[in-house]
């Protein structure tokens, strides 16, 4: 059974959700006393998550505010327009939860993984070793797909009868991915107008979001035109610049695309520096390798659309996509097209 302290710490759990339901607060209540404190705290959560993620931490002394502030923040984020901002929010919240989870008793971690996320996870029969949990490979795989270090590679894990050995820290890290996915899922735009009561606060949050518009940064960083890139590449840029992770092939595609589109090695390095799991040496090696820098060998090009599709990296083709087989040819064509239409700059470039 989870205490109120637990629910305040881990407001993403199903127990916390039930608790909030039982409070029976309507959206319109949020603007009047005493519930406006929930809205205030929700706004604070968002500010912290977007700008000072290290300060994000539960205020356990008042669970009646703290617990509902999480779903409230999520509801607000759902109405935000930028996918980028949503991801930044999700990353920050999930990171702070997993940091807390690392200090919990194993029992607590196990309970959350099981009850909220339905993981097949258990203690090993032999509890003497360094292994805290055994987790089914399916849950392991779906939550480790963006982790690039060798130690997360399935090949290097102890896998027996379908279960993988994990430490508590590793489990918390995998839960972080799961929580992040859940937040991203819940912040999908509801396709309805936001409630009147929230419009004021929403315009404020939308204002916050635009303070750091990544693609603006990018246009300045690179001598290349982000607006002319295909959706798949834009998505990769967004993922990285909002603290998300890319798979190995994702990184390869992005790097080779940028290099071939005319970015310098230094540009690309600068950009990767903002990524959450940046490793200077490794990245430099990769970038140089792809651009053919080391030994002046072949410069690599990104994979074809077909390949990107099999790897789930194609975002869903637009009109121009249907006429090309390669993201680079998309870019080249789009460049030509947009140069021709310079005369009528009526349409703002899509982000």
């Amino acid at each position: 059974m989870s205490s109120e302290r637990d629910k305040a710490r881990y407001p993403f759990t199903s127990e916390a959700a039930e608790f909030v339901k039982s409070l029976n607060i309507g959206v319109d209540d949020l603007t009047s006393e005493p519930y406006n404190l929930i809205l205030k705290r929700a706004e604070q959560r968002i500010r912290q998550a977007l700008f000072k993620p290290d300060e994000l931490s539960p205020q356990e002394q008042d669970p009646n505010i703290e617990i509902p502030s999480f779903p409230t923040a999520i509801m607000l984020m759902a109405f935000v327009d930028s996918e980028n901002t949503k991801r930044r929010y999700a990353v920050a919240e999930s990171k702070s939860f997993s940091k807390k989870l690392k200090d919990e008793e194993p029992e607590k971690v196990l309970e959350i993984a099981k009850r909220t996320f339905g993981w097949r996870i258990k203690h090993p029969d032999d509890k003497t070793g360094t292994v805290d949990f055994l987790l089914h490979f399916r849950e392991y795989l779906t939550n480790s797909r963006n982790m690039n270090e060798l130690k997360w590679k399935l090949t290097n894990r102890y896998l027996k009868s379908g279960y993988i050995q994990l430490t508590k820290d590793e489990t918390a890290r995998l839960l972080e991915e799961e929580i992040q996915k859940k937040i991203l899922e819940k912040t999908k735009h509801p396709k309805v107008e936001p409630p009147k009561a929230l419009q004021e606060i929403l315009s404020e949050i939308n204002g916050l979001a635009s303070v750091r518009s990544t693609s603006q940064d990018l246009v300045q960083t690179f001598s290349i035109e982000v607006a002319d890139m295909p959706q798949c590449i834009k998505r990769m840029l967004d993922t990285l610049s909002s603290g998300g992770r890319l798979s190995h092939i994702g990184r390869f595609t992005l790097t080779s695309f940028l290099i071939n589109a005319g970015a310098t090695e230094e540009d690309v390095m600068d950009f990767f520096k903002t990524a959450s799991d940046f490793d200077e040496g490794k990245t430099r090696y990769q970038v140089e390798h792809i651009s053919g820098g080391r030994g002046g060998k072949t410069r690599y090009t990104p994979p074809k659309c077909d390949t990107l599709r099999t790897h789930g990296l194609c975002v869903g083709p637009d009109e121009l996509c249907k006429r090309v087989k390669h993201p680079l040819s998309y870019y080249k064509r789009k460049r030509i097209l947009s140069k021709r239409s310079v005369a009528k700059p009526a349409q703002a470039p899509e982000i």
Partner: protein, 418 residues
Amino acid sequence: MSEENLEQRTRALVRDKFSEYYRTNKSTILPPPYMERREFGFLLTEGVMVRHKSFKQVEGLVSFIEATVPSDVYHSAAYYLDPEAPMDSKCWTGSDLIFDIDADHIDTECKERHDRWSCLECKATGHGKTPKTCPNCGRQKLSEDTWMCYDCLERAKEEVLKLIDLLNSDFGVNHDHMRVNFSGHRGYHLHVDTEDVKSLGSEERKAIADYVTGTGLDGDLLGLYDLDGRIKIEDGPKITDPSWRGRVARRIDKILFEADVEELRSIGLKSKMIETVRKRRKEVESSKDRSLLGLIEGFGEQTWKLIIQRAVSLESVGIDTVVTTDIHRLIRLPRTLNGKTGLRAMKVQIGELRKFNPLEQATVFGGYETVHIQEAPQFTVGGEQYGPFKDVDENLPTAAAIFLLCKRKAYPVVKPIV
């Protein structure tokens, strides 16, 4: 007779025989589970691929096959809400996890005997496995002429057995959830259809493929080495350990105990070390503690690397990883004919895999045909050996004749009208 005409006659005869097979064997065609949610594809004899077909019941599938007499029949490993829609709007809901094991991907000695390649640019030719680039002119336009024999099919089968064992012990997949099909040519397909794997994306499938092949294995992480880069003696890998750690330990144990001098040399061991291994084997055998790992002291880092590398490569399962990661893959339907050989693709019960011999059990045609054979190495079909042939007319059992016709190594001889 012109080449075009010969090609037409070949096609007509093959189609005739295939048609007869489907007429008499339609009741044996084995649709995959949930057939109504799969896409079917057919390669017609004229070389046209018909895709995006679906069938609610086996009857519809069978009559389509009977009517079109395709040279090859495929179904998707994937499940779709709308299998007939174009690719982007089929609505993928999941896919079996599939493994393709093919003699093409396995190095066997018999390839020297029966496979040949030729360079389309400079006309150089050679025996055995096709090189990546032509050793004569360095270009990459090579055509290959591959055959199969008992040996390479056995090797492919060994790989399947290794894979079944690994999926069972490491991934916990039991035999009821694995289907093994002979492809009708040089290999086998293994399908896993537990709910756990169906919804996995291609990244996750890549991780599984890498696991199966031992790709990205890190000796430090698996606790194989001590700080000096030598194999860990204390707390080192034990043959009872799970996953790759145990697998590597078991294989090293086997190498150190059983490998003959020649094999040890092929790993790269120096004569002095080979002597040590042999001496210590005797010592260990007379003592109770059967652990050679601890006794092979003085082996340097380099030697251990070589041994471990060999152990990994022997344990690695030779699958075509591209097939496993492709979540839209079409794969051959069992109990249909393979247009490259005229052999029947078929399901093999896992318990019977060991004694399964495709060269006997996958042939279907009766009777005889006379064909003119341009060139063929020695080959086996229906348990009989034939050839080698060069530029001769032969009256062969239909299965062997069709095999050569499918490979385009022969054409039908028209019997004179009496």
